[in-house]
């Protein structure tokens, strides 16, 4: 595995790459709050099968640049970065695998540049989060539905969640989030009770080692969370700018999988959307959605072999 910095869209993007240089590129896009590292179990497997696995740290994360303006974190900036990464590596279409925010970015990448994507495997976040009514402010809707303590609403005030994380400590935050398994929308009361008592250690599940946690902690201690949180601070602006794509379908062959205990699976309306006709209507080339038994949100880390197999089985068809 090699580590490189690619520049294309005005920022340096750190990527982990493994696999033959002429192998079909598989772009693996992480979410919040992880890193390229969340794909550590899939990268060697893909490389061994002749693919060129490429996992960036998204802008604002890890060893990639983190511009200071919040306005530099719209989906247009993020997809622009992915196009720059792709262009630096190949002129061909690529496979894309996304998780969480990475899945959202992948949906938009397919909307804007279907000419660049051979096939898509998306995890956790379905296309119900696609462009809708540009006159609606998503944060207002989220506040109304889930209250001001819903995590996305708590992320809006600049500096607020960063101060809380600082006080609680990055180590505790990393452990608490990666081990979160409650199948309900994530509420963060302002009394910081979500993080648990400071003297109570958070035990790690079998799929997460102390080394893994240490890696995440070191990177997030160095960078902070502002970059990643800034993505959420652009929800309203993104929605305004998505107007050209309202009603536009995803025209890329797609595989979707979600953990049975993923909090996203338990959002009101999520199951109806995923298993109902709407998902297939909006993504005509969607294969039957897969629900991973026993898995929660960080499914690519929790069920690494299963996810690797799912990816390979799908992309080998193209």
């Amino acid at each position: 595995m090699e580590h490189r910095k690619l520049r294309g869209n005005g920022v340096d993007i750190h990527v982990a790459i493994q696999g033959p240089s002429d192998g079909p590129v598989v772009l693996l896009i992480h979410g919040f709050p992880t890193l390229w590292y969340s794909w550590r179990h899939q990268i060697p497997g893909l490389a061994a099968l002749g693919y060129r696995a490429v996992a960036p740290d998204l802008r604002g994360y890890g060893d990639s640049d983190a511009p200071s303006e919040i306005s530099s974190y719209t989906c247009f900036h993020l997809v622009g970065d992915m196009i720059a990464v792709i262009s630096a590596l190949t002129e061909d279409k690529v496979f894309v695998v996304g998780h969480d925010w990475g899945a959202l970015i992948a949906w938009y990448l397919c909307l804007f540049r279907p000419d660049k994507v051979k096939a898509l495997v998306n995890l956790s976040v379905p296309f119900s989060f696609g462009p809708k009514d540009p006159t609606v402010k998503p944060i207002d809707v989220l506040r109304k539905f889930y209250g001001d303590d819903f995590y996305m609403c708590r992320f809006q005030e600049v500096g607020e969640i960063e101060a809380e994380i600082s006080e609680v400590g990055v180590e505790r935050v990393v452990r608490r989030i990666l081990t979160y398994r409650t199948p309900r929308p994530l509420i963060l009361p302002k009394d910081k009770s979500f993080w648990g008592p400071k003297d109570e250690t958070i035990p790690l599940p079998s799929w997460l080692t102390e080394e893994d946690v240490a890696y995440y902690v070191s990177k997030f201690q160095e960078k902070g969370y502002t970059g990643g949180v800034n993505y959420y601070r652009n929800f309203d602006r993104n929605n305004e700018l998505f107007a050209p794509w309202v009603g536009c379908k995803i025209q890329v062959p797609t595989k979707f999988a979600i953990g049975e205990q993923d909090l996203v699976y338990h959002f009101p309306g999520a199951r109806e959307y995923i298993h109902g006709p709407k998902f297939k209507e909006e993504v005509p080339l969607l294969e039957e959605p897969v629900v991973i038994e026993g898995a929660a949100h960080f499914v690519n880390q929790e069920k690494p072999q299963e996810i690797l197999q799912l990816i390979v089985d799908f992309i080998s068809k193209f």
Binding site: G8, N9, G10, T74, F76, H77, V79, G80, D81, M82, I83, A84, S87, Y108, L109, F112, R113, D115, P134, T135, E240, L241, F242, A243, P244, W245, V246, G247, C248
Partner: protein, 331 residues
């Protein structure tokens, strides 16, 4: 020539949009096409600065009599279409969003349309084709070429380096500044200056420039035409239209996803050889040496109109209408 138009309003992308429409009469519908009763093909016409739907009056009359349903909106910020207060609500993403909403509402949400663009309307048309090629059947674009997005070329700083601070686009940047100057000069005089501009060189507006030299109406612009433009621009001012220029950098920042993207829609491009855009350094070469086509692979034809200026479709209305119909007939 029948110059009566239907005027309609529709709510799209959060704004109230005005458009003029001219549809074929039943007789024309049967005559121009194969006689089968089908919905007429739609042409969406996009005006530039500082104009309105009205700039397309000749083409709408001619093309509707040939069997097309013609639709010409006032773009956001112009004429009888709403002009949002927020200065950063004038990126290409906003305007293309309006047009997708318009096509969805007025033609159908699965429908493709023909598009004709001029000046800013041409820029918007290029972006419409980049962002939603699935909604455009073919494009006739005028005056402004498609230039691929480049990270190194942030628009306003490029203009500044090339032409200096007095270049009109640079003078338009400071919010409120040019509006105050235009108000002093008077709407009619400003419009006359811009609509009759025939210098192949770049438009320079040094501060304290005098607007006292006599300006005479060209043959293609009547007192009535000027009165119509003045009435609309007097009502709403120049802020909306000038805001497009103030959002060029913002649009550029959002267009990273479209780096090295080609325009994948069939295109016919028309430009007057006296148009100031034809005389932008490098443009002639760009158009004719193959680079234009490399970015617009379906560029079927480039027409250079001898003696034609910037407002070519108003200067040579019949010629342009014929070019449009001859091209769209092939689809």
């Amino acid at each position: 020539m029948d110059l009566t138009f239907a005027h309609r309003f529709v709510k799209v992308n959060g704004i109230n949009m005005h458009f003029a429409e001219k549809t074929p009469s039943l007789v024309a519908d049967y005559g121009a096409f194969d006689g089968a009763l089908r919905p007429p093909p739609v042409i969406l016409l996009l005006h530039g600065f500082p104009e309105l739907w009205y700039t397309w009056r000749h083409q709408m009359a001619a093309l509707s009599s040939l069997g097309y349903r013609t639709i010409a909106p006032d773009l956001r910020g112009y004429g009888d279409t709403e002009a949002p207060e927020s200065a950063d609500a004038y990126t290409s993403l906003h305007v293309v969003g309006d047009l997708i909403g318009l096509i969805d509402e007025v033609v159908g949400d699965r429908e493709k349309v023909f598009v004709v663009g001029h000046d800013w309307g041409a820029i918007i048309a290029w972006h419409l084709c980049l962002l939603r090629p699935d909604r455009v059947k073919a494009l006739v674009n005028m005056s402004v070429v498609f230039e691929p997005w480049s990270l190194k070329r942030k628009p306003i700083s490029v203009f500044k380096s090339f032409y200096g601070d007095d270049y009109y686009i640079c003078r338009f940047q400071e919010y409120g500044e040019i509006e105050a100057e235009f108000a002093k000069v008077g709407t009619e005089r400003v419009l006359m200056e811009l609509l009759t501009y025939r210098d192949p060189g770049p438009i320079l507006l040094p501060k304290g420039k005098s607007y006292d030299d006599p300006v005479s109406l060209p043959s293609w612009l009547t007192e009535y035409d000027v009165k119509y433009y003045v009435s609309k621009f007097e009502k709403n001012g120049f802020t909306g239209p000038v805001n497009y220029y103030r959002n060029m950098d913002r649009t550029w920042e959002m267009m990273g996803p479209f780096s090295n993207a080609q325009v994948k829609v069939p295109v016919k491009f028309i430009i007057g050889d006296q148009d100031l855009t034809y005389h932008i350094p490098g443009t002639k070469k760009y158009i004719h040496d193959g680079r234009f086509k490399s970015h617009v692979p379906l560029l079927d034809e480039v027409v250079v109109i001898k003696g034609g200026g910037h407002f070519i479709h108003e200067e040579r209305p019949d010629e342009i209408s014929k070019h449009i119909h001859d091209y769209f007939l092939t689809f």
